[in-house]
Symmetry: C2
Subunit: 257 residues, 2 copies
């Protein structure tokens, strides 16, 4: 089975790309971030012909997450209970016995802003969520745009970027703290090389072609799940199409199912 994650940067602007990608890859699960659409504006129609069940939670202008599932959605949750702001950054469901958690972590704006504090707290709330609702020996997949580069090789210029809201000690510690609960980074299990990115800032001129990117999108899995994983890869193909997102999909393939 295939589980994928893709920050689409507006689902309404990415209908074409998303449809093409789903039709080609037919993952059992696709988790999407930054849909940027209120639930009433979610373009359900545009995807209906593909037969996916879709769980989505949006808000006015920012954030927004969704899960495309080839099986009916079970045990849906559409917010992180610990988040007092109830921002649209969390959706969870069950797929067979697997728990799927899709998150869009706050970017954090600047190190000394309230938004960065919110980002740090969000990771602690998420860890608390896992503590209270499940156990590391269940099959759990936690995916999404974490807005963190975990290691030097996850940014194109680590020296220059060190201290960024997505690449600093505090934020790496925050992710590691959640991972220590029981998650492994599936991509790094298979691909230890540097320069493997999932995000290229639109504002960096020609950033994609010069490969000036960041690895911010992850598929994390508990050991039980990770053992079943055959491969995890970054798919750069959608960047070749018209009006690409600034992120690109990550796909994990599993033996079972």
């Amino acid at each position: 089975m295939k589980i994928a994650t893709f920050n689409v940067n507006s689902i309404r602007s990415r209908v074409e790309i998303l449809n093409a990608w789903l039709a080609e890859h037919r993952p059992q699960i696709l988790c999407v971030q930054e849909t940027k659409a209120q639930n009433s504006d979610f373009p359900l129609e545009a995807f209906s012909h593909l037969g996916y069940h879709i769980l989505f939670q949006g808000q006015k202008k920012y954030n927004g997450v969704a899960i495309f599932s080839d099986m009916p959605i079970r045990n849906a949750e559409i917010e992180l209970p610990q988040d007092p702001d109830k921002q649209a950054r969390f959706v969870k469901m069950s797929y067979n016995n697997i728990i799927i958690v899709n998150t869009y972590i706050p970017q954090g704006q600047s190190i000394k802003s309230d938004k960065f504090q919110y980002k740090l707290k969000w990771f602690s709330w998420l860890k608390d969520y896992f503590d209270k609702t499940c156990s590391p020996d269940q099959p759990i997949v936690w995916v999404g745009d974490l807005n963190v580069a975990l290691e030097d090789k996850d940014v194109y210029d680590p020296k220059k970027m060190w201290g960024d809201v997505c690449f600093c000690q505090d934020i790496q510690d925050a992710v590691r703290n959640v991972m220590n609960w029981g998650f492994v980074d599936l991509f790094r299990q298979f691909h230890p090389q540097p320069d493997q990115y999932t995000f290229w800032d639109y504002r960096v001129p020609n950033g994609f072609h010069r490969n000036m990117g960041w690895r911010l999108d992850y598929i994390m899995a508990t050991p039980k799940m990770a053992q079943q994983c055959i491969d995890c890869r970054i798919d750069k193909a959608p960047r070749g199409l018209e009006k690409p997102s600034d992120h690109t999909p990550v796909v994990a393939e599993f033996k079972a199912f």
Copy 2:
């Protein structure tokens, strides 16, 4: 020879439609209104392959006029000297011995607004311009979006619309006053029927298909010029394309040249 007028409602949004239309019809002169682009943003490149000479005068957000000419622009004027606001609503040039005047008349907003007073004045300034700069026995073509329906048959619901800034006594008098200087309405010379419109308000649901329109775009000519006119027609074809303007072109065909 063909002389045409077309309110494009943003020239940058209408590059495709305009290019297709010019390539098909190849008028000697096309006068365009509501370009909605500052001169520095005028998409000159987009039209370069057609070989037209282009005279344009724009401003930040509103108005803006242009003339596409198959011969070099002579005697260019880019403002109505009488207008103290110097809004981008007037361009004039010579084509052989013909004077071409392209105007985008103010809409007027509401009858008791300053903008309506400005609209009335604009017509009087224009008449003054003709008085001072030329004579009715010259070949003159005055075209544009006049934002006036001249007769009952020029609106889809004259009873309901009477009193509108584009359909009331004062404004009809204002146009007639300029016409009395020496212009005839070329379209009406050939087509006396009702329900011949050049504008359909986007806000009227399905207005175009229900033909709930207005005739606001005119090609006016002095007698010398009018005698040469073989036909004057409204071309609804551009309304069939993607992203149509709310106006559609009017074309006059002349014997000479």
